[in-house]
């Protein structure tokens, strides 16, 4: 690719991108429809030409209505739509502006208070402990990867824990809802922390990994869950352990990343986000949801747009306005259109180079919707035509080995949608890929190191 070609391409992209400005900006009435439009009042005409009307009626239908309606019927329609526009915003005299809570409740904070030491039932020395009877256990109480259990920050400190895997079982996704069952489903299928065929590293031997239980959630409110989860993530990371969060829906990415930033400071690490969905809804009537998670992080400067990489975009939230907004924020986005044009090998090379050039530290986030439904049928916000588990795990493994990982999160697994449990196996594989990457880094190996014995049988 010559520099001249790149320059010309950049110019073309710039020319294509800017003249349009905001969508729905203006809608000049076509000449052949101006006679009908002439019967409307100035206010009604403004409603059309300003483009406001296009929020309620697609352009193609608007042309049809203008061409075919008589004057009365047209006025009636435009008036009705103007009345809708007037009702769209919040009116304190009409609308509930916030959901009241029961201030008299004895347990206003429902189970989000960790038991203080003097009230704990029994005493033990701090440190991770096994839930198994046997030296080489084959079954028993399920934990992430069969890892030991830790409950308190002092357990993490005493055990010099490298990685704490934590469930965040909230269940408020905008797609199919079963992400609350995600953590236990991933515990129940013990396919995390298995030796890696590429490096022949066993992450559970190379790292001190624990199952750090679940963080408590308010099952009726994301808003009330956010601060507890962010605080607990900060406390966990404060011990030096890397929090690996298992959602939960993708709204929990916001407190996950926010909690890391509480210790390290905002804008000090990058965000690599695998998802079909950009999750940058800007105008929602709620303050937080899965569709707003990344918008909140960018808007509040918790991560910089230029340090944010999005991979696999293709869902219903991907429209022209959204992509333009992502460009304005300097976000590195990689849609499935880019994969279609350039092929997975080249696009991942670009992504990994962006990560390598980015900040030293990264937070890696997987919304399971990034995977093609063939590999992940139990995605809450399933979207066809995604990436394969091989492509995704390879990229995760590389980044987790190449960068200083400050946090990891996997979200929106809805186990009930997959009787075969293949989806859970793949969710575990994605988590395991990062765990292996962290282990490879800890051992000082090259990020893409392949053990020669694993690569070749060596027979003549």
């Amino acid at each position: 690719m010559t520099p001249g070609y790149v320059l010309i391409r950049t110019l073309i992209v710039a020319l294509l991108a800017f003249p349009f400005g905001q969508a729905f900006a203006e809608w000049p009435i076509p000449d052949d429809l101006s006679t009908q439009a002439a019967t409307l009042s100035e206010e009604q005409l403004n409603f059309i030409t300003s483009g406001d009307i296009l929020k309620f009626i697609p352009e193609r239908q608007l042309e049809h209505e203008l061409a075919t309606r008589d004057a009365d019927s047209l006025r009636n329609l435009v008036n009705d739509l103007m009345s809708l526009a007037a009702q769209m915003g919040y009116d304190p005299g009409r609308d509930m502006g916030a959901a009241p809570l029961n201030l008299a409740a004895k347990n206003f904070h429902r189970s989000t208070i960790p038991t203080p030491a003097p009230l704990r039932d029994f005493e033990r020395e701090p440190g991770p402990f096994s839930v198994h009877r046997y030296v080489f256990p084959q079954s028993g109480v399920p934990t992430f990867g069969g890892a030991k259990v830790a409950i308190w920050p002092e357990d993490l400190t005493a055990g010099s824990v490298d990685v704490a895997i934590i469930g965040v079982p909230n269940n408020m996704g905008s797609g199919r809802r079963d992400s609350g069952a995600g953590p236990d489903a991933m515990r129940a299928l013990n396919t995390i922390a298995i030796p890696d065929v590429q490096s022949l590293v066993n992450p559970l031997e190379a790292l001190s990994v624990v199952d750090y239980g679940n963080f408590s959630i308010d099952y009726l409110s994301i808003e009330r869950t956010v601060s507890h989860v962010a605080g607990m993530v900060a406390e966990t990371a404060g011990t030096g352990a890397i929090p690996m969060l298992v959602g939960g829906d993708t709204s929990m990415l916001y407190p996950g990343v926010k909690g890391i930033a509480e210790n390290r400071g905002p804008g000090t690490f990058g965000l690599l986000h695998f998802s079909a969905h950009p999750d940058v809804e800007r105008f929602s009537d709620h303050t937080i949801s899965d569709r707003q998670a990344i918008f909140r992080l960018l808007d509040q400067g918790i991560v910089k747009g230029s340090d944010t990489i999005q991979v696999g975009l293709r869902g219903p939230g991907v429209d022209l306005e959204t992509l333009r907004w992502l460009r304005e924020q300097d976000v590195r986005y990689h849609t499935m259109a880019e994969f279609q044009r350039h092929g997975s090998e080249r696009v991942f090379k670009r992504i990994l180079r962006e990560a390598d050039k980015g900040p030293d530290a990264f937070f890696v986030s997987i919304d399971v919707s990034v995977l093609a439904p063939a590999d992940m049928v139990a995605a809450g916000r399933i979207t066809p035509n995604g990436l394969s588990i091989r492509e995704v795990t390879r990229a995760i493994r590389h980044v987790c080995a190449a960068k200083d990982i400050v946090g990891f999160e996997i979200t929106d697994l809805a186990p009930m949608l997959d009787l075969s449990r293949l989806s859970v196996i793949h969710a575990n594989a994605a988590l395991n890929a990062c765990l292996v990457g962290i282990a490879v880094r800890k051992k000082g190996l090259d990020p893409d190191y392949i053990h020669p014995v694993a690569l070749d049988h060596g027979q003549r």
Binding site: I57, S73, N76, L77, D80, L81, S83, L84, Q87, M88, G89, Y90, P92, G93, R94, D95, M96, G97, A98, A99, P100, L101, N102, L103, A104, A105, K106, N107, F108, H109, I113, T115, P116, A117, P118, L119, N171, M172, S174, R176, R177, D178, G180, A181, D218, Y219, L220, S221, I222, E223, R224, F283, S284, D285, H286, T287, S289, M416, L417, L419
Partner: protein, 515 residues
């Protein structure tokens, strides 16, 4: 009559019955939000305990306030009974006792709401330019003009269109209900905020349409075809905000009221059991407070209270009583068997005069006796009745796809009978069927069984209109082949048919002779 009703609806303001709404609580944002009462009269304080003199040395490091706290009900929620408290004290040094008491005090203070520290509400983004987009209704002018009334979506005598409940015609506004003189409007309500599993959103209302073909068809037990007797429509789905139950309640109540105001019976299907609250409140708006009774089929009593949220699928019964829509004495509960409530919950129900019928009662007395007792209670004095049917009242063998299944429930044969009888023999003005989570049942059994429960009520309502309101009416034709008199109650029929036969033969003989 039709024109009169139509003009009454079009030209009178749609008011919330004759009641002044309750005062808006101070911490609620917006002048006219939902009238949730935030007071909780059932917060019970445990009485203080007496500590024996023998533990006095253990308390020497405590301040008088700390000793007071140790005797209070708050401390008892950690320490247990007086004996347990003494045991705890005796196992600790005075220093440890102080740390122990301070830890309890700390937890109690952090559990409670504290002004300045805690948000008193869940904020919404009132700056949003699309704040109300979720519930804005489509103006008629956006579609080609049509006359008011139910619309058939199919090409072939109404069949062959997109799936509706029972393949029935679609109505979308109050004018459609009035113009079509509609008797029953089935409304999907995709509220998906119940706990357990969550799949009671649009999958549930769509599944009830896909599997809804039994609704309105002939019921062989009584040989009545409801859709022949009643005007029944699919009233579409009501909009909900699936990130806030609180915010959804008002709109659901508005749409249910819209149905009930026309005199039609609203049948709300799909979502979680929070819906019982707006459904019954809407009926109270139309028929007056304390004028509607409720029969609540459920394995859970749903009168929980005292949580930080004011409404969820565990609270509707309590909230309806608290706000005065229904008298507690007008509540009947059937099928309870979940782990709660504890004895104090049952005592509360007795004090309130609630009529509860647990699975324990059914085990003790037998189903036929309880069935008759329940139907008699529900039919007292011609009271107006709402049936709130949580599908988890049935045994999970029949309804595996529900949010909080509890084994040991009713069978489909029992449920169909009691629902058909209630809708036929009582004065039913509303019905809901809730807590369907289709993803949990790949066989579709749960959705199909749910549709049959709806059908049972439609049949009953049709029987009521036809006057078939005798106790446990069954068709004499379909319930007996009458070739013989095996059960000893067919002699009259056999004699009559024999007499007819003889008469016909005699006539035939005469005609033959005449020739």
């Amino acid at each position: 009559m039709k024109a009169l009703l139509l003009s009454a609806i079009l030209f009178s303001p749609l008011s919330l019955a004759n009641e002044e709404p309750p005062d808006t609580p101070g911490h609620v944002v917006g002048d006219q939000p939902y009238p949730f009462d935030t007071v909780d009269p059932r917060v019970e304080e445990k009485p203080p305990i007496e500590l024996p003199e023998s533990v006095a040395p253990r308390l020497e490091r405590l301040t008088p306030e700390e000793i007071e706290f140790l005797k209070s009900g708050d401390a008892r929620s950690f320490a247990g009974s007086a004996e347990d408290t003494v045991e705890e004290l005796e196992s600790r040094t005075p220093e440890e006792v102080k740390a122990w008491v301070n830890a309890m005090q700390d937890v109690v203070s952090r559990k409670r709401y504290k002004e300045g520290r805690d948000a008193p509400h869940i904020p919404f983004n009132t700056e949003s330019p699309q704040y109300n987009a979720w519930r804005l209704q489509r103006p008629r002018s956006l579609d080609p003009q049509r006359e008011a009334g139910p619309v058939e979506l199919g090409r072939y005598d109404g069949r062959g269109g997109p799936p509706t409940f029972g393949g029935l015609p679609l109505a979308l506004s109050q004018q459609d209900l009035v113009a079509g003189e509609v008797d029953v409007a089935i409304l999907g309500a995709p509220l998906n905020m119940g706990s357990g599993w969550r799949d009671s959103g649009e999958r549930a209302t769509v599944d009830l349409r896909l599997m809804g073909w039994p609704m309105g068809r002939q019921d062989q037990y009584v040989l009545v075809e409801a859709s022949d007797v009643l005007e029944i429509v699919d009233y579409g789905d009501v909009a909900v905000d699936n990130n806030s139950t609180e915010r959804s309640m008002r709109h659901v109540r508005d749409i249910v009221r819209e149905i009930a105001e026309t005199g039609a019976v609203p049948m709300i299907v799909g979502g979680d059991h929070s819906l019982e609250y707006p459904n019954v409140a809407a009926l109270a708006d139309v028929y007056g407070k304390e004028n509607v009774s409720v029969i609540h089929f459920d394995s859970h009593y749903d009168a929980w209270w005292g949580g930080s949220h004011l409404i969820s699928h565990g609270y509707p019964v309590y909230r309806l009583i608290l706000e005065g829509h229904v008298r507690a004495a007008d509540y009947i509960q059937v099928g309870l068997r979940s782990q709660g409530p504890d004895p104090s919950g049952f005592e509360w129900m007795r004090e309130q005069g609630m009529r509860y019928h647990t699975m324990a009662e059914i085990e003790e007395r037998g189903w036929p006796a309880v069935l008759d007792r329940v139907v008699a209670e529900a039919s007292e004095e011609g009271r107006k009745l709402h049936i709130s049917f949580d599908i988890d009242v049935l045994d999970p063998a029949f309804m595996p796809a529900t949010g909080t299944p509890v084994p040991g429930g009713l069978t489909m044969r029992e449920a169909i009978t009691i629902v058909r009888r209630l809708c036929a023999e009582s004065n039913v003005v509303g019905f809901d069927l809730v807590e369907l989570h289709p993803a949990l049942d790949p066989t579709y059994k749960t959705s199909l069984n749910s549709a049959h429960i709806v059908k049972a009520c439609l049949t009953g309502l049709a029987m009521n209109k036809e006057g078939l309101t005798a106790k446990h009416y069954l068709s004499p034709l379909s319930s007996e082949h009458a070739v013989d008199d095996y059960f000893g109650d067919q002699q009259q029929y056999l004699d009559a048919t024999q007499a007819e036969k003889d008469a016909a033969e005699e006539k035939a003989d005469e005609e033959e002779t005449g020739e």
